[in-house]
């Protein structure tokens, strides 16, 4: 059986980025009612898809999913402009929270 929610610390960087992107797309489809979320280009602007509450919901969703705080207070709306940017910001935060291994 395929594990749909693998532990982030078991993933390679590329796999982690892919997992984050998938989580973002699924959230936008399910909660943001963006039917085309799975097909959107990673660099396509999302601005009109978001209202302020959805931004908070997305961040909380990703934090719960990956178990890592993503917003240290330095995020700005540009960081959420596209799926690709959200993926990059979230992936960086998750990687930074991983325990350092030799």
């Amino acid at each position: 059986m395929v594990d749909t929610n693998p532990n982030p610390k078991d993933l390679s960087d590329a796999e982690l980025a892919q997992a984050v992107e998938t989580a973002v797309r699924e959230f936008l489809k399910n909660e943001g009612e963006a039917e085309n979320a799975l097909e959107l280009g990673a660099d396509q602007e999302l601005w009109s898809q978001f209202d302020s509450l959805l931004i908070m919901e997305l961040l909380v969703h990703l934090e719960e999913r990956f178990g890592v705080p993503l917003n240290t207070g330095k995020l700005n709306p540009d960081d959420l402009k596209t799926i690709g940017r959200i993926r990059d910001v979230a992936t960086r935060a998750i990687r930074a929270a991983r325990p350092k291994t030799e």
């Binding site: 009109s48 978001f50 209202d51 931004i55 908070m56 961040l59 934090e63 705080p69 240290t72 330095k74």
Partner: protein, 575 residues
């Protein structure tokens, strides 16, 4: 000494010599390379001359720089967690701008919370307006511009109610409302023949212009602002608003309000604060207005939501609640003040006496309207148990946001007069900020009052308590209301990110509670806007707390043993 064509051009010397120097201003200024009006003011300020009327000459437009200053201290209502943004747009400077004749004045606005004051702007006049909580900043700005030789005009509530505090920091003091005297004021300003002080009457609002939102940084305000009326018939002892705008309420007509709404909509606002002192107190008028707003809102491509201030007794009227809801009101600020009935009587808050406030707040929630409560502590009948009583009351309500403050004797109020008479007015130069007062309480010490307020605020905004009240509100909200307009304005996104950043980093408990709230509103879209605003204020409150955390940590109400003592600043009795 400056000469031109053999004539004396030192105006001061010519005055002393008994000559008229009227015609020489321009020449002297040309030679000095300075602004003509500024030099005229300098002479007036020295008290050397009484300028004779001067014929209007075709000159360039006067540059008028209008500033809404920063607040002296952070308060709950300000959203300083969002850098470079304001919670509610300031309509005052835009209104003054609209009153200035286009052909004579070039106006620039500065919202200081958004952008820094430009001290190099070549203004002919600088105008500064503000409330009591901006008094310190007003005075500082006045000093800065006068030092640069620019004449300074002060107006607005603080200048009107406490003229003695600001008079020495400006060249022109405008007390009262500007609209009725605007033609004379601007004409004299243009000609440089102005008076030291103007007093505006309380005029009709029919002719009040639409504020110049095109000059205001509207994209940096979470809410627009529109005043449909001025005045409140009630006579709460502590209220300075009625001293400024009076108890006889004056109204704009519905068509005028709709025109202002069109301007706000065009400026990009999808949330508007109806900045009335009491929107619903004249019920027939309020209902006509709300019908007009509802009709207007129906016609907009994107629905606009509103906040306002009103008094609790309007919840007697089911039709009023329905109209408020239909018009798009999402939040109402109500001065609940205190659960102590004796204190309500003491302060003449008669509309709240013997009213079940918790049940009334539920009525609003049933109509999809969030109540934001104003609460005051430190009345003469408030003992050290009052903080616990406030908390007990709050937890029986669906009110998430409580704006708690100490009783404060503002300028020109009956309360201040009484405190002065009783020798209880303290000389404390503080703004109207949480936990600050200028009154010596009767049934508790100042230390108990300040510690009690801090304890109360901490309790009200503790994760479990805050979330319980907010979830209760969401639960009571109806399902069938139109959902809050989605906003893709950048400033709203910044507010969301700032709120999330603060709450998710505060502690796992906060993050968990925020998640609970978000889940609850997923199933109740009608509550999205109200809940979002509540989360923003929650985050702001936690931010304010972190700012004072270094100085004090209060862990028990003052009726119980105190964990720590608050360092006190020296206070002196005056008056």
């Amino acid at each position: 000494m400056l000469t031109e064509g053999g004539r004396l051009h030192n105006p001061r010397m010519r005055v002393l010599a008994g000559e008229s120097f009227r015609a020489d201003f321009a020449a002297a200024d040309r030679l000095c390379g300075r602004n003509e009006l500024a030099s005229r003011v300098r002479f007036r300020r020295r008290g050397l001359v009484s300028l004779p009327p001067r014929p209007v000459e075709p000159v360039a437009k006067r540059k008028l720089y209008l500033i809404h200053p920063k607040h002296d201290q952070s308060s709950l209502i300000e959203v300083d967690i969002v850098p470079g943004a304001v919670g509610i747009a300031n309509a005052a400077i835009g209104t003054v701008a609209a009153l200035a004749p286009d052909d004579k004045f070039e106006v620039r606005l500065c919202e200081e919370e958004v952008e820094e004051v430009d001290f190099d702007y070549p203004a002919d006049f600088v105008g500064v307006t503000g409330k009591h909580g901006q008094g310190g900043r007003m005075r500082w700005l006045g000093e800065q511009f006068r030092r640069r030789g620019v004449p300074v005009i002060f107006g607005g509530p603080h200048a009107s109610l406490a003229p003695e505090e600001v008079r020495d920091y400006c060249d022109i003091l405008v007390r009262g409302e500007l609209e009725p005297i605007a033609p004379q004021f601007f004409d004299e300003l243009y000609r440089g023949e102005y008076q030291r002080e103007y007093v505006g009457a309380r005029g009709a609002l029919d002719e009040s212009p639409i504020p110049r939102w095109d000059l205001y940084p509207s994209d940096r305000a979470l809410m627009g602002s529109l005043q449909t009326s001025r005045g409140c018939p009630f006579e709460c002892e502590f209220c300075d608003v009625i001293q400024y705008v009076g108890r006889k309420q004056r109204h704009k007509n519905v068509e005028q309000v709709v025109r202002e709404l069109d301007a706000l909509y065009a400026a990009g606002f999808r949330r508007v604060f109806l900045a009335d002192d009491n929107l619903t107190v004249y019920r027939k008028r309020a209902k006509d207005l709300l019908r007009g707003i509802a009709d207007w809102n129906e016609r907009q491509p994107e629905r606009v939501s509103f906040g306002t201030q009103l008094s609790i007794e309007c919840s007697d009227d089911l039709e009023m609640l329905e109209l408020l809801s239909k018009a798009g009101l999402h939040s109402v600020f109500i001065g609940i003040e205190t659960p102590n009935q004796e204190s309500l009587r003491e302060t003449k808050k008669r509309q709240n006496v013997d009213v079940d406030m918790a049940e009334r707040a539920e009525r609003f929630a049933h109509h999809g309207i969030q109540v934001i409560a104003g609460a005051i502590v430190g009345f003469d009948h408030d003992g050290p148990d009052i903080f616990q009583r406030h908390l007990d009351f709050a937890m029986r309500t669906p009110i998430a946001i409580f704006n708690v403050a100490a009783l404060y004797a503002a300028h020109a109020t009956p309360l201040r007069e009484r405190m002065q008479r009783e020798g209880r007015l303290l000389d404390v130069d503080v703004a109207l900020a949480n936990a600050s007062t200028n009154i010596r309480p009767v049934l508790m010490s100042l230390e108990q009052l300040e510690q009690g307020i801090r304890w109360l605020i901490d309790q009200l905004y503790a994760p479990e308590n805050f979330t319980q009240r907010l979830l209760r509100m969401i639960e009571l909200f109806p399902r069938d209301l139109p959902a809050w307009s989605n906003s893709d304005r950048r400033v709203d996104a910044e507010a969301a990110l700032a709120s999330h950043g603060i709450l998710s980093n505060e502690s796992p408990e906060f993050a968990r509670m925020m998640g609970r709230v978000l889940k609850a509103i997923r199933s109740k879209p009608s509550a999205r806007g109200a809940a979002m605003y509540a989360l923003l204020i929650w985050a702001q409150q936690r931010h304010n707390r972190s700012c004072r955390r270094s100085s004090v940590e209060v862990t028990a109400p003052p009726s119980m043993p105190l964990a720590m003592q608050v360092p006190r600043r020296a206070l002196a009795v005056v008056g």
